[in-house]
Symmetry: D2
Subunit: 153 residues, 4 copies
Amino acid sequence: MSQPQVERLDQQHEAQIRESFRRQAFMNYLGAEMAEICMGSCEVRVPYRPELSQQHGYFHAGVSGAVADTACGYAAFSALPKDSSDVSLLTVEYKLNLLAPARGEMLIIRAQLIRAGRTLKTCRADVFCVRDGRETHCATSLATIMAVAGRAA
Amino acid sequence: MSQPQVERLDQQHEAQIRESFRRQAFMNYLGAEMAEICMGSCEVRVPYRPELSQQHGYFHAGVSGAVADTACGYAAFSALPKDSSDVSLLTVEYKLNLLAPARGEMLIIRAQLIRAGRTLKTCRADVFCVRDGRETHCATSLATIMAVAGRAA
Amino acid sequence: MSQPQVERLDQQHEAQIRESFRRQAFMNYLGAEMAEICMGSCEVRVPYRPELSQQHGYFHAGVSGAVADTACGYAAFSALPKDSSDVSLLTVEYKLNLLAPARGEMLIIRAQLIRAGRTLKTCRADVFCVRDGRETHCATSLATIMAVAGRAA
Amino acid sequence: MSQPQVERLDQQHEAQIRESFRRQAFMNYLGAEMAEICMGSCEVRVPYRPELSQQHGYFHAGVSGAVADTACGYAAFSALPKDSSDVSLLTVEYKLNLLAPARGEMLIIRAQLIRAGRTLKTCRADVFCVRDGRETHCATSLATIMAVAGRAA
């Protein structure tokens, strides 16, 4: 199996997506940063803060879910035609399966577009937690995203 | 169809659950409050704050997901035997279907235990958004929660 | 809480839906019968046959999933305007949570439309198994259905 | 990225799993065959038959769901210790996202174990449909499987 081709976005499209991500107040509140965005995939990182934890001090599953959902939306967004500034992407549904406690200093969420239908996009996101430099696969998510015309993303 | 019976918890059990909820740092960070907890159900409320919004100013779907997941955990917790202080409840998976934009001044999340197996508990949560005093059904969730012995919840 | 209002379909619409169900070869193969169809809900029944079983002789979870998915589609179909003969309903996704072994002589699947968006419909189905005249709640499902114009259902 | 290592099962374990699959009456009824079983993964094939179709003559989504669920169970089963003849694997939940119409002469379902906890196993299955020798990715599934002691699989 060959390495999947990573296709860079053109600069303007990438800037537009990063700008859109910054307008997501909740992502800012979580401290989430878009580390990378390519055609059909993106990576978001969330440094640990005690405010993001559940009762054992690990990242709350809801952080993983919220960021995985958002990352899926941007993976879908990245594959829209460049002149899609009036298209909004709404989450239809997402499912998160938790695999291991998210214990560590950073969450890394990697999302990819699996299928781009005209209206509906199916995406997958995997959530890893970095502890002492090692990644553990903590959660996996499957989401449906809908492209709606007529509203800025 | 008759009104479902709401069984009150005894005071100590209720206090224990409310104390556990308060230890969830992420719920505090979201401003989530446990409004009600009964045997097999609970209601959590989240007042609107701009930090919880997505790009259109509505509640971010990730807030709904995170709180629905947590509310499901407490609905399951409420139905454990009273001497379960060493049992921890972990989310196995949850799915959130979004029904309408969560536009308004308050999210209300109502969770109920559907099935209490010995190890696994299945719960449903419905998310409503209150705007000008009217509730809109914004999301519905289905979750699997696992009871694990030997760790304080 | 009052009984939900059950709104009957007009005869022609009901006949059209029952005819569509009969064209689902796989439903025939499973022996599934549409017992009832109203506005926004339907009930499908599947008598037990050894061919539908898993290793312990109970109904295979896949039967519950397949019929729940189909019942959701028809619950959505029933709420379309009457002149929707060119609209096709496709399943986008469904999730099935299993609650108890489906041991008995009949599966009853009750589906209802939760939210009817223009394009997407969200439905829930509950699966019961009848044994010695008593129903056990065996599974619950949450599905997204898409209405697509231009193709007979 | 290197090819994932495929670890063969020992002959007796493989025979035991294939025997278990054959006892699944519903899989026989669908004409499903276990094409391959390795440590943590398996492939099941379902030749087209009109009885498995929905209204447009394609494979019914319920066939994909049922076989994906079963394939996930066997992917989990394959990774149990060899002396696990008294362990039964039960599906807790599965979700199926449909990506494209399943139009063709054969369904191929490839399942893999993502995470093997002691009690719970998380698996993914991808469903492909072969038409004129070409595979189309038709559906993807995420499932939770529970290992229960004391009952033959």
